[in-house]
Amino acid sequence: MKRFFARTLQTTFLFLIFSSILALAFGGYLRPISSGITRAWVSLQAWVSTRYLGIQQFLTAPQDFAALRQRNAELEAQISQLQLQIIELQQQIADREILAALVRYSRANPTYTYKAAQVIGRDPSPFMHYILINAGSNDGLRRGMPVVTHQGLVGRVDAVIDSAARVQLITDPTSSVNVRLQNSRTEAILVGSTTADLWLDMIPQQAKVIPGDLVVTSGLGGVYPPNIPAGQVLDVQKQEAALFQQASVQPAVDFNQLSIVLVILNFTPVDIAPLIPTVTP
């Protein structure tokens, strides 16, 4: 009986404690304690979880590295291929733009028949300003034919084989082109130089030359057709004591970026060799 009473008392006591705790909890009086316990619990769980993930990563890492390396190699190969494709496409776009400009030029100048050719090389000597093109006598090219781009005059065919030709640029030190200043209609000679600079020579002293004047071929001498742009006057050098004025000229064509040119097929240069007097004994 005594034992039963003690157990009932114990149960009642526990019930009371539990009820009071519940009452305190529902009343919000245990919030600081519960939040402290929860925080400690979460921190501990986070610590354990982090360590577990670390150990798991450590154990599974070799497999992942191998897979990642393989994936990385695949992606790098893919990137290389895509970069090559981009370069090819950019080249195609650039070529297409040039070709479109050349087509526009040939349509705008229907008097002549053109043959497009790719620039495949340059003269090995730094003293000579020549280019090699991939069209030759099989394509109808002959020595002396003028070469142009949509920008202006390039030069003339110097030597031909069946499938290629060598073109003398107007910047070559031995090149001279009869030109005319478009504004003043003054005739002059455009000469090249070792440093690929263009000079306008033999300009009469009384001629009025202004920087910016357009220089076009005059057609005199019959070497080049008339009215092809060759450049623009940059700077005029006039000396009172000199017979002629000189001027530096900015070429119309960017000779460093030459990739495709047009050869004028139906222009036959005049051969003036028989007119040059020879000394006979």
Binding site: D123, P124, P126, F127, L132, D158, P173, T194
Partner: protein, 165 residues
Amino acid sequence: MRALIGFPILFLTAILQSALFSRLSLLHGHADLMLIVLAIWATHPRVLHAWEWTLLGALLTAFLSAFPWALIFLTYLVPTALARTLRSVLRSHLLNALLVISAGTGWMGIMGWLYLFTVQASASPLLIAGEILSPGLLMNLLLTLPTFIILRRIIDWTYPGEEHE
């Protein structure tokens, strides 16, 4: 038979020179790969066919260039002669090659000036030296070491352990 190896090498050299190195200019000078190849070949102590290589190299260059043939042959034959003389004086192959390439570049400048003078094209020697030769020499010297490494292997393979000429 060994001289035949010169055909593909010099052919490739001529193509590279015209299609690539002539476009890579510094100021107005550019590297002369043909000179570099011929100089490295001719200065090697075991090489027997230096003159044949030089003639072939000059012929290929003359085919591509508008520069007068005679001057092209002179441009390359004189450095070869210098190379054959130097290799009996100095033992270092690379040093000999560098000396021949430097002298050859200068000689090429003289030939160029001579040509321009002959055709009455205006070109001052100072301008040629400053705008064409100095940058050309710099590029030649830069290109010498990689070319030397490649050619040296070919020469060792072509002339394995023979006595000096």
